[in-house]
Symmetry: C2
Amino acid sequence: MNDYKKILSECAEKIQPFIHRTPVLTSNYLNKLSGAEVYFKCENFQKMGAFKMRGAMHAILNLSDDQKSKGVVTHSSGNMAQAVALGAQLLNIPAYIVMPENAPQVKKDAVKGYGGKITEVFPTIGDRQDAADEISNRLGAAFLHPSNDFNVILGQGTAAKELLEDYPDLNVVMTPVGGGGLLAGTSMAVQAFGKSCITIGGEPSNVDDAFRSMKSGRIEINEKANTIADGLRTHLGDINFPIIQKNVERIILVDEDEIIAALRLIWERMKIIIEPSCAVPFAALLKEKESFRGKKVGIIITGGNVDLGKLPF
Amino acid sequence: MNDYKKILSECAEKIQPFIHRTPVLTSNYLNKLSGAEVYFKCENFQKMGAFKMRGAMHAILNLSDDQKSKGVVTHSSGNMAQAVALGAQLLNIPAYIVMPENAPQVKKDAVKGYGGKITEVFPTIGDRQDAADEISNRLGAAFLHPSNDFNVILGQGTAAKELLEDYPDLNVVMTPVGGGGLLAGTSMAVQAFGKSCITIGGEPSNVDDAFRSMKSGRIEINEKANTIADGLRTHLGDINFPIIQKNVERIILVDEDEIIAALRLIWERMKIIIEPSCAVPFAALLKEKESFRGKKVGIIITGGNVDLGKLPF
């Protein structure tokens, strides 16, 4: 536990000049509705619009000078692409971003806006990884994994660290679970900085791989990935899974209509734009209301990069 | 000017227990894009989701005990309905809200949620006023006008007062102009608390009555009210117009596509939900970029109550 405290504090200090300390918002209406006291840590207001900035920045800062000079590479259609591009831009090093050719133009434009060099590939995970490997081999660029990288995990954990500094008495911290980096990092921060606080994950029933992994004790994968929470379609990795097994209390599953209802509630009542993925933990809280009654619950709002042309309302 | 300072300070003190001091947000991206330093005063995070809470609260608090016991009445399909209902609820007095029968169900539900007693009428301004007058005569309830009431005007001015307390060096404060209550109150606060600061209004070209009123020196009305900025379809009143004439530098007109583009920029980049009306001043700033270059500009974001099922994107 003390180890967690030390390494998370070092990480937070290192990335601090490059990230925003995001605000924590509350809503009387949502508190009444849920019966809990809910504290939303708004990473949708983070640089490039998502918590991924924290992990990407930390991983890039931990590269050697020689590695930095050769740049970084990742494959992503989403927030990791923007986070790596912006993080590299802030340090003035090259970023090679492999994106599926069918990624939304607005995301490609954002990556270009941050100076990322885009390689477009066929939209399969195999093609994406092959292209990233090729760039890494040819140019010596360091490959950054969005969730299964210890430095990325630590970076993601700094959001919960800040939240617990602001509200030390939280009983629960909740995050969505996709690749597992945020949930693992958050659980470390909760162990390090919480007082009798637990970590709970929220996951769409349609991609319940992490829920099943917790039961079976091995990394399960999804046969299908049919969820509106597009950030949560991936599965756990061998670095974050043991951390999650050790520190996370449980994972709550929610259905698509519950995610959309929670999303709409947060948009309408809090007047903030959040991604569908971030509505998952709040949907989980509403689903199991009784077990959270009277508790102080922190929720990491993971990001706000949504395609306004494709809303589910 | 000293008079303004005194009456606005008294108003602010009176309503303070009943309203939120809303945050001021900034965006590096929008600053770069506009060439100005822009400070957004986020009244979309105000109670019931709009600045109207300030004016309604102040008007209600200024009623005599006898008046209060008989309650208040207004007619509105929008934010004034919710503001009066919530303000009355906080003081435990009755609120009678006349709403057009075609008002969105979500707005009727919000008014009911705040304990307002709704009377539905045919959606003409005549029918609305007749019904409000009838309730006022029969029950002795005090009629509250949304914009042409001096106590309402003062209440709306407290948003700019807070903004200038946080950022005393603003060169310009901008608001949209509809009925004129917010623009009048803001211009008073700018005179009272700004240092060589001016007030500018933004108005849709399609409902340019205030712009024309400033030219002609008398209250002009709109023949048509075809704008997405549904809060700005009304015209000025005889109480707020002289204040606006005296204190407002000028009004900038913007077209519908400029409003929608500015709205989308703020949603996408700032991750906050704002009403189309609030995008009008920022659209005006972008339209006349050159004249704002390097200036510190405060913009009152008026509210965040939008129908998510009817977005212009």
